[in-house]
């Protein structure tokens, strides 16, 4: 079970999503067709196998329209489920449930999709030392949720933003004149709880980068041979992160070079939703 995010961080996102969907007049279909006091029981059911993330989004969406709804999760975030599995059961005012359905499914499906894709990558590198990590290529407004979904899928989080670690890239190196100078400046500026990572694009930069003691070196678009050579040369002096050109066809071989961390933008920027339905029960 992955540690759930506090509702305090999730509820504002859910409420904004409901406001976006309800617009200025609410669910005019249910108002026209469903009696005000009707009740509805339903289950959230997976139509494909996958990893679960974001059940609290569904719970909070329904609760926002019916504070007295009953919502019972059948599994925990982080669980693997098969097609057909029930994720949660709900009993609520019918209009409230129908009004919250799309928002609940949009968030749940997206987060389960990210968790599921993450799990696939994690499985692909099983037995190696490599961790699968995300990037900042997340949906604006949903970063905390999407990075949570990565954790639910067994992945690890890279930076949450520009402010919680230093990551030196090519433009920074150009501004400093050399990779070494860039790392030196970064180490001098970093607080004692801030890690420093530097991205290099070839083996020739490795030794100069390591000289100034970065916590992590990102090996961007390295060949498999170069990755392995970088692991050998670094010899534990820094955490090594492979990035670029990572997909399900390549990730295993990358992991087997001995890198510590493999970052995969696709986890968040290109995951398909997991197909989940809300079925009357």
């Amino acid at each position: 079970m992955t540690e759930p995010l506090p509702d305090l961080l999730v509820a504002p996102i859910v409420q904004a999503a409901l406001a976006e969907d309800l617009g200025r007049a609410g669910d005019i279909t249910s108002q026209a067709c469903v009696p005000a006091n009707a009740r509805l029981s339903a289950v959230f059911a997976a139509r494909q196998p996958g990893a679960v993330a974001g059940l609290s989004c569904a719970r909070l969406a329904i609760a926002a329209l019916d504070p007295h709804a009953h919502f019972a999760a059948a599994v925990d975030d982080g669980a693997h489920v098969e097609a057909g599995a029930v994720l949660a059961r709900v009993e609520a005012n019918a209009r409230a449930l129908l009004g919250a359905e799309r928002v609940a499914l949009n968030l749940l499906g997206r987060l389960c999709g990210i968790a599921s894709l993450t799990r696939t990558y994690v499985a692909a590198v099983e037995g190696t030392r490599a961790l699968i990590v995300d990037t900042r290529k997340t949906t604006p407004g949903l970063r905390a949720l999407e990075k949570y979904a990565v954790r639910c899928g067994g992945g690890v989080n890279h930076r949450f933003g520009l402010d919680d670690a230093i990551l030196i890239k090519d433009n920074h190196i150009a501004a400093c004149g050399s990779v070494g100078e860039a790392v030196r400046r970064a180490k001098a500026a970093a607080g004692h709880l801030t890690k420093v990572e530097v991205e290099i694009d070839g083996l020739t930069q490795l030794e100069e980068a390591l000289k100034y003691g970065p916590d992590v070196v990102m090996l961007d678009n390295f060949s498999l041979d170069d990755l392995a050579e970088a692991v050998r040369r670094t010899a534990g002096r820094a955490v090594l992160e492979a990035s670029g050109g990572v997909n399900l066809a390549t990730v295993r071989a990358i992991a087997e070079t001995g890198v510590d961390v493999i970052s995969v933008g696709a986890l968040t920027h290109s995951a398909s939703v997991l197909d989940i339905g809300l079925d009357a029960a």
Copy 2:
């Protein structure tokens, strides 16, 4: 050229995304490594062919950090571009540009991805009468932008929310007792500027639904034969929308049945980002 959204609707989303990324201390890497007054020129360049949407997001992200930045779009939203094409040129304070880069790319890449996938579907049905439309399966908080991207790709928008048209689904029909009664109630409740659509899951419901004059009938998960038969029977009495099981392998055949509209959830819920880079120039 697709009509751009007013900046007033886009700017709050961009600013929230920047705040999410800058966190509480801003871009600490650029602060450490890039002089405060350095300038940077760069181009947004497509790494794959696709359809363009969301250039104003990039412009507004950079302007939020450097109000004096120069941003010149090289193409309009709605344009088709080849791999390598320049989308826009920018010259700005270096820290501002680096600080806004990820937010600009996250939004631009996502919207171009949706526009590009939409265009692929639109091309697949070329020569038929069918329009490609989106659904409400959008990212919470980004619905206006994502539906705009669908328009940039040549698609048409379905409902923007629960409040701007009536769409009767199975639960509503169950609550009313019959499909006819559901349409009757909906027509009675709808204002003179509100259209009524009803979803049916078999030909047997068609005639009863049509009797009460819905504007649109959604044919959910119909076989190709049943779609064609529905077109024949309806004979123009309502707009016919095919939905369910639509993908690039099936969409052409669906369109050739003669339906008016084909709705595709994948346009927004499962589009991959278009790969776009910001290259120093």
Copy 3:
């Protein structure tokens, strides 16, 4: 009974109103004069006859200051009440009730005022086919509530905003060159769930407008004779909406011309509040 708006759409308006009234120090009078734990029972009573709308505003205002308050509506929104009628009974912490009183009455009185004026118009056209509809001449920030009040009074809603239907006016026609071209462009741009209305200011424009199949034609400031002639000529090819110069002295005659819809800006822009008091009980 009119279908109430979800609390989710009403509560933010109520809370902003309370914040506006409580300012930075709260209700300093009650703090000075009323013991912290005193209780108060009271009734919301109509001082004039009218139609009820907005009881949830009163409930939510009081609940915001005393989550344990008891609030029992005595009638439903949409009901007609006589002078002296009790609308709701409340028992709450005295300071909370006094602190919420003005906000509750301001919202309730305004919405009941709109509902009551609407009902007067609706009654005036009883027996004709004409529906009474509102306009976008609403109070900024309160459109959803005010249009809800129109429904409570038996009226029907026109557009909720610039985005949920097309309404072509003189400036649009001027930009297109002719009324026919304007309707043609609008129909081409409109999605399959978006209706198109065109405003004309004389009979000479009618046939050209109809040629392109608008859903609704607005007859602006037509004489009674011209309205009747427009009904005759249109012969059901479009919904006809009369607007301009509508007041309680003229609305019946307008309705008797056979138009389908009569829009009345005064419903929302010039309704007086219904006089309602909160009386200790």
Copy 4:
């Protein structure tokens, strides 16, 4: 000329109103019918005589959609204008102007309506010592603007909220046991910059109220004779405010009793909008 409110207080209201009107897709009519780069010149013109208030709302609404629009006020807030008078001239992007028109007119018309009604009351008491003041019976969310409009009409503002003066009413007196005790407690609790007003409903309470030195005594629903008697007995020991039953038929006689202040809820809760149009020029 009335001192205008800082834009900082007005702009958020205008922007929220625009967002409410533009919805999720913006002005789809103008997008369909008006070229993106078309310009439009127009004037805001009064269709009835009245007092002007709120020109900055119109300016800010248009500027929000076209930062480069030219807006030139022809009169100042506070001015009296005749029917046909031009209030302001504007030249802007046509879509922006049409998209902002309704918001601009809704705010401007409402505020001018309040200013105009206030001016009518002020004129009715000309030559007496009485000031016309507003109440807290304002539109939720618009209090600052509506009270500003009262000032534009020559009126004076009562409390802005529950926190900026003490106003003792019947429930407070009941909680304290007597009017004297209520005033005594209030004076003890009030800071040195906070005034204390007490509402009484009969002459018998006057002397007891005055004994504790309130700044203002509100005479609620007093007969003309009792008002005059209260003026005589008070002899300047407190400001006297008449309230209740005030309308244009009664206000002159009330003023002639010698009271200092007459509060009129109708100024804000029941003013009709002033009819203003935006005419292409």
Copy 5:
């Protein structure tokens, strides 16, 4: 017991503070180290003697993360406590309590610090007629809370903002040409519930200021002799407020000159936090 602020005014501040502290991933330490369902009992205990203010901040912070937490205040706001005193007992989900701890202590410590410093000043002038009042030198965003803390310490509040009383300072006098003209204009502009204060910097301005009837005269940086002389000359015609150069060494002598009010910016701008701890119990 000081009258507590309504939760409605306090909760948004507390929630914003929690969001600031939880960031995008929440309390990652407790997630790593504390079981999800662990409970924790603790007490808020004063480590120094002082005056209590802001217990509702602590209650609301914990409730925001655990709606089912038990929180029992052991004293009321406004109480004086000794070192070691228990202020409140709490039993809650362990992660919730640890996640809310810093926000609760930051607000509580600050408000108790202000209350305690205020009480020290109030004690220093005991037996004189002088009231200790605050200024607008408060923390941006916390004015309502900090002025509440002043009340908890036995102080009185000066203006809450620029809008709830008139305070004429040197720049205003310069703009008007003379102190008398400034007061005259202010009195003419002020509503009947708005007090007027004028700041003077020497005895020579006193008589001219008093001639126009200000409610309060602020004597800025007067010597003790001049303060006493001002009291003598004013003879009750206005409230006199001493300001400038007030500290614990000088406040008693200032009070003994007979001024009514002494304003002390340090109450809010330079109070140290009261040292409070959250101890597992």
Copy 6:
């Protein structure tokens, strides 16, 4: 010169502060006494020596009320200034400047106060290896600004929130059973860019803590001898942070024990404002 925060992070705080101060009617004193078009030139001048932080707050406050104001900083954030030094010159609309003055000074004075106190601590440890760092004992809503001020004073920032590093305290250790187990769990849960710190309260915990490789060990309330012994035993295996009982009398001796970092809550929770005035020029 300390790297300034992006305006995007500062402006919302400034605007909220202005809204808090302007209330519902704005600066009624200046409206009464200062002509609408009057201009004012002034300087922000230090009345005490200190370190500068937050000039952009003053600039943004004035610009919010007068977008055309001229503001010229005379020094950079991070500079040391003597009493009497001019920090910035401004020329603006007089009402705008007077209306923004208090907000500008409240923010500027507070941030300069924090920077100045930080600098005093930094000076006290000059020549040692110790860095002075802040804590999370900041003002709710102002953390980013206050931690920026610490940097302006030469200090270094500790965690920005609960989410950007792991800091294990006594309650976490209790929940895990031992300090070693707590560090082990934390290291396992931490991402590759997240540092882990553990707080111990005695030398006996040191070796067990170090065994699991924390990045930082916090030595809480250690005696000077124990600090020195911890430095000796650790021998560079972790960064050592002294905390507790740190004040200007003790900080030098603490630094001389050889610890790397000294955290001082007082930097933010108990700094007095720096006395700064806005003087007409």
